[in-house]
């Protein structure tokens, strides 16, 4: 109870909500660890990496209400920086023989590499953020899109550093399902804490009424920048988790397909809440897995279904269109999980 002296009611409620969401994540994790097959472990891992991305998106896009399309690029930056730092010299001699600046002459501990990756991603995000947070609406969206194309183009072209569309391989596979569980639980707490923090509240207020928030003394650019950089840290962590699990990366996964997929996850769940981010990610990740299975024309209950290639894409599109038409604030709207329970109990 002594805690209440330091944190607000909303923050306490946020802790409860984070706890509930963490339980959900851990439950899914345990379920798949004890009952699932090995490949399902991978699907859950991939879903949780996307969850980190979606949470990173939520921190900025959800609270500031500015559509961001550059997130996959930041994920890529995190993944590549960590990969370059951590990959053993012996392997880099094969894969990056022409790397400049002695990039192929050193290798670091995975934790140090991860730290450097996060730091560099955040630094780049801060630099870009200085510009992007001053734009609003469609202008910010297009600059974020330009950012995505620019970063992708650099990944593709500087094959001496990034290998482009070829594999950057030999990254030590230091993460497993437990690591991602711990990281995503932490991420939920951080994202929720930010939402209920002083800055989070100011940012949400400015999203509802920018002029009003300004007149109340909110430095809109500053809170946006804080959210933008914090979001980029989530994305860097997602990139690192991707690289440390698969051991091989390329420029390919960090482009439009991934951008649209993760944005769809966020808006389906509801971008204004952390609960929405979690719900959207889990629903689409596991839903798509089911649809994918139906796509290839399986035999269900003795009936041979036709092959329906493209069904998963159609479903994803329908989900977006229907959500936007009937509930543009997503499934959760403005309600976090613990509020839902409170309402439900009454």
């Amino acid at each position: 109870m002594s805690l209440s002296a330091y944190i607000s009611r909303d923050q306490r409620s946020g802790l409860v909500g984070s706890l509930l969401l963490s339980c959900l994540l851990i439950a899914v994790g345990l379920l798949v660890v004890y009952f699932g097959q090995r490949y399902q472990l991978r699907i859950v891992y991939a879903a949780y990496v996307n969850l980190l991305v979606v949470l990173g998106l939520q921190v900025f896009m959800g609270n500031a209400n500015i559509t961001n399309l550059s997130h996959s690029a930041f994920m890529g930056i995190g993944a590549y920086v960590a990969a370059i730092c951590v990959t053993p010299v012996k392997i880099k001699a094969i894969s990056l023989p022409q790397a400049p600046w002695g990039l192929n002459a050193f290798a670091l501990d995975p934790w140090v590499s991860a730290f450097i990756a996060i730091a560099i991603t955040a630094l780049l995000a801060w630099l870009v953020g200085l510009i992007i947070t001053r734009l609003s609406g469609i202008g910010a969206t297009i600059v974020s899109l330009a950012l995505l194309v620019i970063v992708h183009s650099i990944f593709l072209h500087r094959t001496d550093i990034f290998k482009g569309k070829q594999a950057f391989f030999g990254i030590p596979q230091v993460f497993d399902i437990n690591s991602i569980l711990i990281i995503s639980v932490c991420a939920i707490f951080v994202a929720r804490a930010f939402r209920e923090s002083h800055w989070g509240i100011q940012l949400r207020a400015s999203a509802d009424d920018e002029v009003g928030a300004r007149s109340m003394g909110v430095n809109v650019y500053r809170v946006r920048l804080i959210a933008w950089v914090l979001g980029s840290v989530f994305l860097a962590v997602a990139g690192i988790s991707y690289a440390y699990f698969l051991g091989t990366i390329s420029a390919r996964p960090f482009y439009f397909t991934h951008v649209f997929l993760t944005v769809a996850m966020l808006i389906l769940g509801g971008m204004r809440t952390v609960t929405g981010a979690v719900l959207g990610t889990l629903l689409i990740s596991f839903g798509l897995e089911g649809v994918r299975y139906l796509e290839t024309g399986p035999e269900l209950l003795g009936i041979k279904l036709p092959e329906l290639l493209g069904l998963s894409g159609i479903m994803l599109g329908v989900v977006i269109v229907v959500t936007m038409a009937f509930r543009s604030s997503g499934i959760t709207g403005n309600t976090e999980i613990e509020q839902l329970f409170n309402r439900w109990r009454r």
Binding site: A27, F35, G247, S250, R252, R292
Partner: protein, 399 residues
């Protein structure tokens, strides 16, 4: 208060648990018990998205059915496991693992090293082999993984076959089109082509960059027209329809140089650009992975599959037949479906008869096939086989 939370948490856990179980159960329904007398081959491949044209499933499926129809391999039947993964590496890896758990002895996947390497690493723990019908990229042969086999020769071979043809036809000055967007296939194949041309006494005049999806090549063509001397040939490793646009725009601009390409041009839609004016294709040649002219073995195979109601659309799907035959050979020699034994048997064979070429052999290189590299051109808008041999003078600096 805390009691309430506990209660709600429990309810939530149970509810979410049920939901997840339901979803997982749906995904699980595809699994089935392992049977020793079937040869399971997995295809975690792009049936949709930008890499769909490279999928080898249809040819493999058709060949597997043919073999099964004739009694299988010593009574063992093929079972082809297929699932679409789009262009998503992670999905490809998960689906591969699913197939491996189901007992697949080989896996085919997205033909890019960023997917093939982790899939091969994963397959290694099951003893299984990653076998690709069409993968020509060189980095897979650098010794990163040792359970990888591709049914074709790497890009330097097609580059050399094209260059040798050019040199024989008096080509001296060439222009190379390069792009990083197709990996080493589009970035380095033209360079190897240039190396062979220079070794043969020719000159590389210029190297122009391009993007995939280019639908108007006018600026590059203006660059070409500026050159002095004019090129005798341009080389490009790209795909249809981009190359088709390039060819037509070059001819419209009055540039009569040879257009030489690699396997990416080997698409039925290339033939279509000659409709109405067959002369457009007169000086177009490409070095490819298997003969694909009208009376080739491949054309016959495609027709045969169509009769079985399996549509095999061109070169890459047809190449799938070869890997099924290679696996069948491996199983026959090994006398079992043990994945390691099958791989070793495939690699030990001096010659394995194939469908799209007469035979292939993995004995010399272990990770890729030694096979003939056909050069195909056009006469009156119809494909003609210009040469079909293992090329000489292949650059060796690629490993």
């Amino acid at each position: 208060m805390s009691k309430g939370i506990n209660k709600t948490m429990k309810i939530f856990q149970v509810a979410s648990g049920c939901a997840i179980t339901g979803i997982l159960a749906t995904a699980l329904a595809g699994g089935s018990a392992m049977a020793a007398d079937t040869i399971k081959i997995g295809f975690a491949v792009p049936l949709t998205g930008e890499y769909a044209p490279y999928t080898s499933v249809q040819g493999a499926r058709c060949m597997a059915e043919m073999i099964n129809r004739d009694g299988g391999v010593d009574g063992k039947m093929f079972e082809v496991l297929v699932q679409d993964v789009g262009s998503d590496s992670q999905a490809a890896i998960s689906i591969s693992e699913k197939f491996l758990e189901e007992g697949a002895i080989t896996i085919s996947t997205i033909p890019f090293s960023d997917t093939m390497i982790p899939v091969a690493q994963l397959a290694a723990s099951y003893g299984a082999t990653v076998i690709q019908a069409q993968s020509t990229q060189v980095e897979m042969h650098a010794g990163i993984v040792d359970n990888f086999i591709t049914n074709v020769s790497p890009d330097p071979f097609t580059a050399t076959a094209g260059a040798n043809f050019a040199l024989e036809n008096g080509v001296k000055n060439v222009v190379l089109f390069t792009s990083d967007e197709g990996g080493s296939w589009s970035a380095r194949t033209p360079v190897w082509f240039g190396d062979v041309i220079e070794a043969g006494g020719g000159t590389v005049l210029s190297s122009l960059n391009f993007s995939f999806g280019t639908s108007d090549w006018s600026p590059q063509i203006a660059e070409l027209k500026k050159l002095d001397p004019q090129p005798d040939a341009v080389y490009i490793s790209s795909v249809m329809p981009d190359v088709g646009v390039l060819i037509r725009q070059m001819r419209t601009a009055g540039i009569d140089a040879w257009v030489i390409g690699s396997d990416g041009l080997d698409d039925p839609s290339l033939d279509a650009i000659g409709e109405g004016d067959a002369a457009v294709l007169d000086k177009v040649v490409f070095a490819t992975l298997a003969p694909s002219h009208a009376d080739s073995a491949m054309a016959a195979f495609i027709a045969e599959c169509n009769a079985m109601d399996i549509e095999v659309a061109g070169l890459f799907p047809a190449l799938g037949s070869d890997i099924v035959m290679a696996i069948a050979h491996g199983v026959e020699q090994a006398g079992s479906v043990d994945p390691v034994a099958v791989r070793e048997a495939m690699r030990a064979a001096d010659s394995i008869s194939a469908k799209t070429v007469e035979n292939v052999s993995f004995k010399e290189h272990q990770s890729y096939a030694q096979r003939t590299g056909p050069v195909i051109g056009f006469k009156d808008g119809k494909r003609v086989l210009l040469s079909n041999e293992v090329p000489d003078g292949v650059p060796t600096d690629w490993n």
